[in-house]
Amino acid sequence: MIQRSLTLFGGLFVLILLMGWVMGAPFTSSRLVEAAAYALIALGLNIQWGYGGLFNFGIMGFLMVGGAAVTFISYPVNPVFWGSEGPAMLGRALLAFAGGALIVLAARKADRIGITGKWKAALTVLAWFVAYVLYRSQLDPAAAYIESAAGGGWVGGLGGHPILGWVFGGILAAGIAYVVGKICLGLRTDYLAIATIGISEIIRALIKNMDWLTRGTLTVSPIPWPTPLPQDFQAGGMNIATSLLAARAGYLLLALVVLGVVLWLISRAYAGPWGRMMRAIRDNHIAATSMGKNVTARQLEIFVFGSVLMGIGGAMLVSFVQIFDPSSYQPINHTFLIWVMVIVGGAGNNWGALFGAVLLWLIWVVSEPLSKAVFEFVSTWSTQFGWGAIPEIEARSAQMRVFVLGLVITIALRFAPKGLIPEVVKRES
């Protein structure tokens, strides 16, 4: 097993070297930083799916939450907004939200004063409606005001350190995961998958359209780095190519430190009693319940932990590319890709998830230039035969990676259903 893992990781290392040689060091260094962030996200999914058997298909939502959080914390302050009436109006909207929440809570406790059954259900629906109208009546004018020139266009950031933003991304993702988990975790696997996809789409629609908070499709940039930027190195007299490499190496180092700490923590958790309990719940939750384990609470716990890693990973990605563009988030790129990473790598094995994340990210980024090269080769060949060239090679090769991703996952499910580095099941002999 160890030997197999070492061979696979060695192969991956050779692949990275090869890529650096063919595609150039600046390209490869960027992809490696992204691969580190994706590895963190894949570890998050590995906790949820590999340890706990939870079917989270809403990864995209958590990545967006992390990205929005780091944008909010680390982007420079927008003085126009803070000098306008915007904060006061938002405060009123928050009060309206709290008031609405109180109304809903009160309606849910209506049985205390003797309202039960159908009347209570009707009252709850009415309370939800009133709360919604109350909130919208305060939020809509506030949003319209902030989006106007007088309100500063949008809320802006807080000007904090990006690492604080990563932490906040994790916390925000945890909060949302807690609510989502409370709602959905009682559901059976495929229902859970559909419900989480639905919730991630709701999150996407909100972040995309709340222009006052996230600037929506107008996108926010540049978002600061936690480590020195290439421009900082250039100011010190370094040439452009070296400064790019130096800056990315700094970022990569930070990402690897985070990744290493997380990997160490969750590997210890896996080996400890907590991990054994989680695997027991995953393999047979009825038996685990009969042993006195609170299955729902433990599953909620693991759902929140995994989502924290996804939030941090999403924040790291946004910090690195320096632009937060809500319309660039797609279920294929940000949910299904992560799933393929974990399944191909080996669900339940952290090294497997790590390996799968780096390998799949490299395949994902390489498949476009590679298919372009293949198409160009075929095109010249077919032109020589007089069949004409392939039209629109650029656009077509960009779509090839979706096909390659589908191909990889179907092959993996067919021939290596447990992944390349499968989970090691320890048995007392």
Binding site: D190, Y191, I194, G198, I199, R396, F403, G406, I409, T410
Partner: protein, 334 residues
């Protein structure tokens, strides 16, 4: 009366059209779930693929110079449905059957269906690019404007020819499916297998045949839904990928495994989406004359802004899962 006609145009017709498409898609999903017990995500690609097959056939017809009285998309629909059914059978044979033989869990099949989705999606984009196509490049899209001045409306009632045909075709196919499921031997076998697969097999039902028929129906109805959606709007590679979740919502709201539930759920979701974004001021404007000044209606009075239209389905889905997970028609429980 103008307001009422406007309401009909904006809500009744478009809600019905959307509901028909959701219902046809949801029937396929619900049947596959009932027989094979897994959520088949690649249904969206059966829809998009079917629509592209129909589009290719329609282009062929146009190239041969065949002119039809109704839109060519509807004429080629039966052929496209047969081809889509073969495609669905092929996908099952190539990707799901080996996994089933190995005794894989439904979850694995779900992930495999996502892989299939990605592959077909990639292939369609590879051959057709990312642009959008229209069935009505060579022929006009007929629009019926019914004059309603006789009942005091200044607006006409607007409905397009594809929309009328779509509603008729959906009605016919739903009735056909109903008679198939209740009257024919095979349909009864399908319902028996959906209820209890083991019991059905022991009582001598040919389960392999039932599985094949399920894929044929799912592929054909998916192709029909996709083509009709493409006829109503435009044909693009992510045509059905974007609406697969509302379709799942329709299937779950109706009760997974229940064909009639899928129809009810589809119509429910379709109408809920159009009603939620409808601007009620347009309908209630006459009230402004009676209401005092301080209670005048605002210019827009919609439940949710238009950009959140798709989230309506998800909210209904989540609420259904919480309140009544079995759906309206008591499908498979969660």
């Amino acid at each position: 009366m103008t307001e009422l006609i406007f309401f009909t145009n904006q809500v009744v017709i478009s809600g019905l059209v959307l509901g028909c498409i959701y219902a046809l898609g949801a029937i396929g999903i619900t049947l596959v779930f009932g027989i094979l017990r897994f959520a088949h995500f690649a249904h969206s690609e059966l829809m998009t693929g079917g629509a592209f097959i129909a589009f290719l056939l329609a282009s062929l017809f146009a190239a041969w110079g065949i002119v039809t009285p109704i839109p060519t998309g509807f004429v080629v629909l039966p052929i496209a449905m047969v081809l889509a059914a073969i495609l669905a059978l092929g996908i099952d044979k190539g990707f799901y059957a080996p996994l089933r033989k190995r005794g894989a869990k439904p979850v694995t099949l779900l992930i495999a269906s996502i892989g299939v989705t990605l592959m077909i999606q990639g292939l369609i984009r590879l051959f057709f690019g990312a642009g959008s196509y229209s069935f009505f490049e060579t022929e006009p899209k007929e629009v019926f404007r019914m004059d309603m001045t006789s009942i005091g409306s200044t607006r006409p009632l607007v409905i397009t020819e594809p929309q009328v045909l779509m509603i008729v075709v959906t009605l016919v196919s739903v009735l056909a499916l109903h008679f198939f499921l209740t009257r024919s031997r095979l349909g009864k076998a399908m319902r028996a297998m959906a209820d209890n697969a083991d019991l059905a097999q022991v009582s001598g039902i040919n389960t392999a045949l039932v599985v094949r028929v399920t894929w044929i129906i799912a592929g054909a109805l998916g192709c029909m839904a996709g083509t009709m959606l493409a006829l109503d709007v435009t044909l693009k590679p992510d045509l059905a990928f974007n609406i697969i979740l509302p379709i799942f919502a329709a299937a779950i709201v109706g009760g997974l495994g229940q064909a009639y539930g899928a129809i009810a759920g589809g119509l429910l979701i379709g109408f809920a989406e159009t009603l939620a974004v409808f601007n009620w001021t347009m309908l209630l404007r006459p009230l402004n004359a009676i209401l005092p000044d301080w209670m005048q209606l605002p210019p827009t009075l919609a439940l949710v802004p238009t950009e959140y239209k798709l989230t309506v389905a998800f909210v209904i889905l989540v609420v259904t899962l919480l309140v009544r997970p079995t759906g309206i028609f008591k499908g498979a429980s969660s």
